[in-house]
């Protein structure tokens, strides 16, 4: 399968007014996105998602590193790349006094081989709101109008920066369906999102960013499989932690027992057989594979812990 996006050694620094205040938001990214794939970029606020996407979109040149979109440099060959890509920014950009249709018409006039404005509105389910001015549209409707603009040029590569933020659950589902059908037609989609279930539902592959780097990447299944599953239950009254089967690596806090395992089925079987043999009831028993959310929180947590550690070390040195 062909590569739509190729990124090597990507870095982006912002230099402030003073020479001291330079800040590196993107710290060496390497990844590629195949054609017809949905690639999700996850991360906490300030992880560098938007900074990265802006570079891919050609809105700014990278400080160093290389980007190829359909084989071209998105910044220096902008005029050639733009007709092939569609972009939805994180925030608005709609003139408040223009109606949805007028806005779509303006955008179509600025676009090569454009869909008719009415068709673009219908794609996102806004045909009934064509004559409403942007300022009177709801937040979610404005987001969908923005999406319609991104689709106007029938893009081969689509960049969606938090496309469903502010949408109600119904509209979010509709957007998901649209993303899936675009993917099925062969559109390559780069998506950033806060919603982990969105990445789980849409992404063929994903990458989690922390502090300007990709910490984990792969298919959602790969990412989740790399983390242990977990079993929780309350320690049966009258049993000491030492009486639990030794083969199970259990952590006990008060009565709460937690077991982490790479092989959920075997571990769970062993635990349940032990419980039957002992004749005890495992209260609040709960067993689950790692969810994307857990993976994400764990990575964010590690990062915070590492930061605290670094701060403590620095504090120690200073004292």
């Amino acid at each position: 399968m062909d590569t739509a996006i190729e990124v090597q050694g990507l870095r982006r620094s912002y230099t402030g007014r003073g020479s001291e205040s330079s800040y590196e938001a993107v710290r060496g990214l390497d990844f590629s996105v195949r054609q017809g794939e949905v690639f999700a970029l996850l991360g906490t606020n300030g992880a560098g998602k938007t900074s990265t996407v802006e570079l891919l979109e050609g809105l700014a040149p990278p400080t160093s590193g290389q980007i190829r979109i359909l084989g071209l440099d998105p910044f220096h060959e902008r005029a050639v790349v733009r007709p092939w890509i569609g972009i939805m920014l994180q925030e608005g950009g709609l003139p408040s006094e223009l109606t949805a249709l007028e806005t779509a018409r303006m955008w179509a006039g600025c676009t090569t081989d454009a869909r008719p404005p009415e068709e673009a509105l219908a794609l996102v389910g806004l045909e009934g709101r064509a004559d409403v001015r942007a300022k009177q549209l709801s937040g979610g409707e404005r987001r969908r109008l923005d999406f319609a603009l991104a689709l106007t040029g029938r893009p081969r590569v689509l960049f969606l920066d938090e496309p469903t933020t502010g949408l109600d659950p119904q509209a979010r589902r509709t957007t998901w369906e649209l993303v899936k059908s675009l993917r099925d037609e062969g559109t390559t989609i780069v998506l950033t999102t806060h919603y982990l279930e969105e990445a789980e539902a849409l992404a063929d592959r994903l990458a989690i960013m922390t502090e300007g780097r990709i910490t984990v990447s792969g298919t959602p299944e790969e990412v989740m499989a790399a983390r242990p599953s977990r079993i929780r239950f309350l320690l049966p009254p009258g049993l000491a932690p030492a009486q639990l089967p030794l083969s199970l690596p259990a952590a006990v806090h008060d009565r709460q027992v937690e077991i982490r395992t790479q092989d959920l089925q075997t571990t769970l079987t062993e635990l349940l057989l032990w419980a039957r043999a002992q004749g005890v009831v495992l209260e609040a028993l709960d067993a689950r594979s790692a969810s994307l959310e857990e993976v994400f929180l764990e990575i964010a947590g590690e990062q915070n812990e590492w930061k605290r550690h670094a701060a403590a070390v620095q504090g120690g040195e200073a004292a």
Partner: protein
């Protein structure tokens, strides 16, 4: 894995063609689409309509009453001549400068400029497309002034229309550039009423719109001659009534072009596309 450069059908002019066609058909189409939207926005804003249609009329009438008491013999102009030639400059100044600054600030703060830059339209096309409606409104009013003045105020028809048109064209470009630069310095739409005042006063008083420059002391006249709008206004006046020799026309043209070059440089360097707030 290979990329798909070869498979991709050609959608735009290639880089080599692009260099030869300065303004392509696609470029015109984009500017027209943006100008249409911008015109809709102009018509929907009561303030913008007021500034575009009534204010220039009031300013020209103000010039008329201001020159009534004035001794214009030193400038060699009749009252009608002074009012009408200054009036053309005044219309350009008020309609273009005072409308374009708040329009650009509004688009920037609503992130419209940032959004447009994600599309195919080029930066220069965005600015030209946004300026097109007000420039057109200003030019129509100039035409009305020339026709009405010739018919009603006993002023002769323009003597060298080409110089008159060149003066108007240079005035338009200089004012659009000044408006773009002022918008770059303006934080909010409200503050544009303040940020536009200095340039408005400097141009109105110092570039011979209200009062011919010859009435000032010589030293001040010389400073005023270097101002961005003065040379275009001199060309407009000469193109209509005459009064400059060939060298003076050439140097006024050269000075205007110098301002245009400086303005383009400054816009590329300092214009802000992203919101300030």
């Amino acid at each position: 894995m290979s990329t798909t450069r070869s498979e991709r059908p050609e959608r735009t002019v290639g880089p080599s063609q692009r260099a030869t066609a300065v303004i392509s058909a696609a470029s015109l189409r984009r500017m027209r689409a943006l100008a249409r939207a911008e015109l809709t926005l102009l018509v929907r804003s009561r303030t913008a309509l007021w500034v575009a249609l009534l204010m220039p009329l009031m300013m020209v009438l103000a010039t008329y009453s201001a020159t009534e008491e004035m001794d214009l013999s030193e400038a060699g102009l009749s009252q009608g001549e002074a009012v009408l030639t200054g009036g053309v400059g005044m219309v350009l100044l008020v309609v273009i400068y005072l409308n374009l600054v708040p329009a650009l600030v509004t688009r920037r703060e609503e992130r419209v400029l940032k959004r447009l830059r994600t599309g195919e339209i080029a930066d220069s096309e965005i600015l030209m497309g946004a300026a097109l409606p007000t420039v057109t409104v200003a030019l129509v009013q100039c035409l009305v002034l020339v026709v009405a003045g010739t018919a009603l105020l006993d002023v002769s028809a323009p003597g060298s229309p080409i110089v008159l048109l060149a003066g108007i064209a240079l005035g338009v470009v200089v004012l659009v550039l000044l408006a773009v630069l002022t918008a770059g310095l303006t934080k909010t739409v409200d503050s544009s009423q303040i940020t536009t005042t200095p340039m408005l006063l400097v141009c109105a008083v110092g570039s011979g719109l209200f009062i011919p420059l010859e009435i000032f002391p010589d030293a001040i006249t010389e400073i005023c001659r270097a101002l961005p709008l003065t040379a275009p206004v001199e060309l407009i006046r000469h193109g209509w009534i005459g009064g400059l020799d060939g060298t003076e026309v050439a140097s006024a043209g050269a000075l205007s072009l110098a301002w245009v070059v400086a303005g383009v440089f400054a816009v590329r360097r300092w214009f802000r596309w992203d919101p300030r707030q």
